[in-house]
Amino acid sequence: MQTRYSFGGDEHLFAEVDEEMSLEAFFKSFAMTNAVRESRIKGVTEICPANASFQVKFDPDVIAPDDLRAELEALEAQADKAEAVIKTRIIEVPVLYNDPWTRETLMRFRERHQDPTSTDLEYGARINGYSSVDEFIAAHAGAPWFVPMVGFVAGVPWLYQMVERAKQIEVPKYLRPRTDTPKLTIGHGGCFGCIYSVRGAGGYQMFGITPMPIYDPKQEIRYLREFMILFKPGDMVQFKPIDRAGYDQIVDDVANGRFEPRNRPVTFVLDDFHKDPAGYARKLAEALNGN
């Protein structure tokens, strides 16, 4: 993987680690953004990790664009040698799959969908070779996901599932974007999942909804008081299917300040994952559920 650098105007340096998505590309990109942050290069104002790329915003009055590029190239050699290990946390995201709100919304925008006669879940299950929606949901919730990138709008995590490429869920985006998506919808487009932090436009297929807010600009929700956004790049997510009663319970608990997202610190070792992806996923789920 040879990183491709390109300037985004006179204030951004864009670095594409790889054209295609892989855990390796994400790990290298993540290592490089960490290295840039630690090296405290004068003139660097923002560092934004993405999936297989990243972006550095800089002040060209402080550092010349070519000098910044040279600094990053030097750091790349260092990142190439870095061990593919991330010390992070895994967060459980409860999901009511096939919920009434995304179902109502997807019916409203059916003419913008590839398959107007089925739901997004039925469509996703079929084109990914699952014989039933239940089986598809089991796969979706069956292995944890990385958060390589947070953004689009405030606090939306991009999610990349930790399974072999052959098992990655892939769906196209809607033919034309919807003008409405319920808040906290679990979406999927290309090979990426996401959680919509606010209500708004969107093009990802809709599979369910979580009762757990991930963005609170008023900072009133207990676990978002310190900072308004739950996710940061490098986090891991494990979806947990819940029923309507479980959904209502969590909504109630969040409102009464009783809810705390279940999460545990974990260390992810890429080599170990590749040796046994399914076993590694189980281990991570156990870490989440252990005490």
Partner: protein
Amino acid sequence: MAIDVVKPGFATTVQDLGRPGYYHLGIPLSGAMDRYALRAANLLVGNDEGDAGLEAVFMGPELRFTSDATVAVTGAELPPKVDGEPCPTWTAFRVRAGQTLSFDVLKKGARGYIAVSGGIDVPLVLGSRSTYALCTLGGLEGRGLQAGDALVVGAAKRPAKQGKAVPEALRRGSGAAPELRVLTGLYWDRITAESGKGFFEDTWKVATEADRIGYRFRGGRPLALVERKQPFGAGSDPSNIVDSCYPYGSIQVPGGTEPIVLHRDAVSGGGYFMLGTVISADMDFIGQMQPHTPTRFVSVDMRQALAARHDRTRMLRQLREALG
């Protein structure tokens, strides 16, 4: 002191110079789309350059003042009136308690900046008073003004002289902006050489979908994408890439048809290829472009981009000297 909002205008928001530092979490810079105009308005009324003012789009609000204040309106040619009496733009004027500030119809430009001595005092959120309405953050309850709102105004920091004006040569922002300078790059190679040429040859027009998030353009020839086997994770459309960060000012062209230039409330990332980025010196101009404005994109290199940036810095220095 306070200002009562009688009529909100159209998409009037509280803005300062923005909220840097959170783009990696999807919270964009926000702040005035025409930063120079906001700075000028603030300097005219004795504020710090980065104090919060109002950004009025296409039409002005109607505001009743509950105490005396010095006011300045810059940016678009949006003529202010005090109790119906016309006042000049780019000039400090007095509004007395009980008087109403309203506006004539827009003559030129798109966004007027209204500064009030003391600045608009909404709570600081992540270091800024700017409104990011898409995610109900900052400003007045995270939204545009509504009739019946009361805006709190801070204490004046220094005396403001009525009649103080920005010299003609330094009034910028309401003129035509027919050319936007672009540094090509990012995923430029996704389009054919012929389309690349056509992009700069064609005259584009600002579409009606033009707001704080981004400006869409129409009217140029569609761009042909270089054929390829789509990389894993990029999505099936040839204009898709593996979702990446979007620079401010970057030009994405979904489906190769209509370029979108991201602005101060940019979505921070996504899966559409970008062919380049509007240089920092020209970003303010975009905020003053009305729908249907004919526009050419002009290709420049980094040296030219930096020279343009220095020109802008020099002009800002002259503004500070003129109003200091």
